[in-house]
């Protein structure tokens, strides 16, 4: 057996079991979403499969599912925008701030990301109330950057540090301003880092639950994470096919986006690691 074949067999031997284990929940989710509700609960019919689109019909016709997706998307995009506007200059400034101050500031900013929402939601409730933003999506748009910005700054800081200072120096000598150097030289090289921030921020926002359940109460303003458990779990009765369909639908485009930008995503995350 040639060494190349051995190498390939070894790689597949490691990857295939992992792929099966990781893909299994998705397959199970997809299969369950096409099952009738009663069949999911019937222990005698665990392995039988009579596909139906009933749960998808229920989602689109008897719940505010489309509205929840719209709300989640709107909040996600707004938060991504705010995060980029704040985190890019902040990350750049911290990356170029030499010495102990820059490092300490970077660590301090990242530490704020570690404060759990389960502690913060109580004081933030008062803030939201004072601002008159109860039950409005703007409450989430205001609060979410409090955890997306620190992470994005930390991530971009590492990425910017990996860009050689000489490139900017050359631009400055050629008459570029500091801001011009950032826009014309640094940002074009930093696309993987920016892309990582966009995808990661959007995912964090779409998956967030505690603030969404605390600050939003009306069904029209619910996001996906709140709408699904509220309308598809009735006490002790989980509408499993509906829940699975509700999760499967947004996970497909997200998976495609991840897949399309996988290499850049990895570069973005590891940008600061190979300096």
């Amino acid at each position: 057996m040639s060494s190349a074949l051995r190498h390939r067999l070894f790689s597949y031997g490691v990857v295939v079991p992992f792929a099966i284990v990781l893909a299994f929940p998705f397959v199970w989710m997809a299969v369950t979403s096409f099952k009738p509700e009663a069949q999911v609960y019937d222990p005698t019919k665990v392995w039988s499969f009579h596909p139906t689109l009933a749960s998808y019909g229920f989602l689109f016709h008897h719940t505010g599912y489309v509205r929840w997706i719209k709300n989640s998307t709107f909040v996600g995009l707004m938060v991504v925008l705010i995060t980029l506007v704040v985190a890019v200059p902040a990350g750049y400034a911290l990356a170029r701030l030499a010495g102990r101050v820059g490092r300490s500031l970077g660590v301090a900013i990242f530490l704020t990301y570690l404060v759990p929402p389960t502690l913060l939601f109580l004081p933030l409730s008062r803030v939201i109330s004072r601002l008159g933003l109860e039950d409005r999506l703007w409450a989430l748009i205001l609060i979410y950057p409090s955890f997306t910005i620190p992470f994005a700054i930390w991530l971009l800081m590492g990425f910017f540090k990996s860009i050689p200072q000489e490139l900017e120096d050359a631009a400055l000598i050629d008459g570029c301003s500091r801001f011009g150097a950032l826009v014309r030289i640094v940002l074009p090289i930093s696309v993987p880092g920016l892309l990582t921030v966009v995808i990661f921020t959007f995912s964090l926002v779409v998956n967030e639950f505690v603030y969404a359940i605390t600050f939003i109460s009306s069904s029209t303003n619910r996001t996906l994470t709140v709408g699904v458990p509220t309308d598809l779990i009735r006490g002790d009765l989980y509408n499993w096919p509906g829940i699975m369909a509700a999760i499967l639908i947004p996970s497909i485009p997200l998976a495609l986006v991840y897949n399309a930008f996988l290499n850049r995503f990895i570069t973005g995350f590891t940008g600061g690691a190979f300096r």
């Binding site: 609960y41 019937d42 109860e134 605390t214 109460s217 989980y238």
Partner: protein, 461 residues
């Protein structure tokens, strides 16, 4: 073409300022008088029939375990709003999120006018209005407020009703008759349960009584303690948990776990015991009748074999708890307290409809809203086999259902013990072999004493 003589000249159609004011004034007077004298003459019904109620009313409640209840409540609330000229907004959230939401609303000092919870929120007494007028109004119409509701929502120390309860939910034992019959047992007493547990587990159908930080475990285990003569407090609201009876009960439950349950029970949520039953695995749980209604609606193969009985008897007798205590709370920061009070009074008066629409899940807390004999007749008419199985609910509700904190009242200390899940933790520590029963009870009692001291200092006990 000649000008017609019949047509007025442009000058003739013009009004002088004096004439304009005269006509406008007369018109306004006519409209004003007609409008005030005959409300329907030109503008339809007046917007606010009862001025003291006018405006908006927002309510937050749970997603009911029996969907037909919400299908009744939501339109009922809208009809009530139309009848009283109040814009009612009613929102539903999952039951596990109610406590978090209450904490957030209190922290923000804003939110809904009326907040529903499944247990009395005695620790929020200072945040809510005194609900006495509501209870008095309802009592005048549909009879006495039942002792279980009185004990759950009244603080004898401050003489304040910190909530009004419209309903409570009996908590029977739900068991698979086919499985238990197969081993020649029935859950009449806890000794029977202990004897049957290993046999049931051996045939792949363990018992399902939770020991987790969740509502159902709390209810089942506090009721279990009571059957063994162990009470968190006495009738004077003094803590009495540390006793030989408590130690015996904890040991007994640990034996049931070790011989007849699985470790799943330590990680359960309020839906887990039901789902354990629905999956065909569980052979016995303590739960409200949603555990039988759901299999009936899904037509599960064993739904006809699900029997409901009162809680098994222990050495101290058969003492159960309500499974849920439906309590409505009007915050002090509510924007429309008058409408909130009227709404809750009318909701309590409609207790019969609520009981029927919830398929006997909600039992009214006012005696004549739907008297027990009528509930019994309604239950007897239920056709789900075994026929008449729901009639036992009235017996359970009347004889074996008590408030949390029995024989005392549900107070702030009990609320905190309940919300911190100290009792399930006490059991789990022993069942998992982490502590001896004596140590676990002693440690729990230390925490309980601290909680009582805190609330006594605040003048709530």
């Amino acid at each position: 073409m000649t000008e017609s003589k019949d047509e007025p000249s442009p000058e003739a159609t013009l009004l002088s300022r004096r004439e304009f004011l005269k006509k406008a004034g007369a018109g306004a007077a006519v409209i004003g008088v007609a409008g005030a004298a005959a409300p329907f003459s030109f503008a339809g019904p007046l917007r606010y029939k009862g001025r003291w109620l006018s405006g908006n009313l927002s309510l937050l409640t749970w997603v009911h375990f029996v969907p037909s209840y919400d299908q009744w409540l939501d339109p009922w609330a809208q009809q009530w709003g139309q009848a009283n000229d109040v814009q009612v907004t009613i929102e539903h959230i999952n039951n596990t999120l109610l406590d978090t939401r209450a904490a957030a609303e209190v922290a923000a000092q804003s939110g809904h006018d009326v907040f529903f919870n499944l247990h009395p929120m005695a620790s929020y007494e200072d945040q809510v209005i005194d609900h006495t007028p509501i209870i008095q109004e309802v009592q005048a119409k549909v009879g006495k407020y039942m002792p279980i509701a009185q004990s759950s929502t009244y603080n004898p120390m401050t003489k304040k009703y910190f909530a009004v309860s419209d309903s409570y939910v009996p908590d029977p034992v739900v068991w698979r008759h086919d499985l238990w019959n197969g081993i020649g047992e029935s859950p009449a007493t806890w000794d029977h349960v202990k004897a049957a547990a290993p046999k049931l587990k051996a045939i792949g159908h363990p018992i399902g009584i939770g020991q987790s930080q969740e509502l159902d475990s709390n209810m089942a285990l506090i009721a279990f303690l009571m059957c063994f003569g162990s009470f968190i407090q006495n009738e004077h609201n003094h803590p009495t948990l540390q006793s030989k009876n408590t130690v015996d009960a904890v040991k007994f439950m640990a034996e049931i776990y070790q011989s007849g349950e699985t470790s799943d029970i330590f990680g359960w949520n309020p839906a887990s015991n039901n789902n354990y039953l629905y999956s065909g695995t569980g052979s016995l749980i303590l739960n409200a009748i949603s555990a039988t209604r759901t299999p009936e609606s899904l037509n599960l193969p064993f739904s006809n074999d699900l029997w409901i009985w009162p809680i098994p008897a222990g050495p101290h007798g058969r003492l159960g708890l309500e499974h849920l205590m439906g309590t409505w709370n009007i915050w002090k920061f509510a924007q429309n307290k008058s409408a909130a009070q009227k709404f809750l009074a009318d909701l309590c008066i409609a207790g019969k409809d609520a009981c029927i629409q919830s398929q006997l899940y909600n039992f009214p807390t006012f005696e004549n809203a739907f008297p027990f004999d009528q509930i019994n007749k309604f239950a007897a008419a239920d056709t789900h086999p075994p026929k008449g199985k729901y009639t036992i609910l009235t017996t359970i509700a009347k004889k074996y259902t008590h408030n949390i904190g029995y024989p005392g009242t549900t107070n702030a200390a009990i609320d905190e013990i309940f919300s911190k899940y100290l009792i399930p933790q006490m059991f789990a520590q022993v069942s998992q072999g982490k502590e001896t029963a004596e140590d676990s009870v002693r440690h729990t009692m230390t925490a309980v004493k601290d909680i009582y001291a805190k609330w006594r200092k605040r003048g709530k006990i």
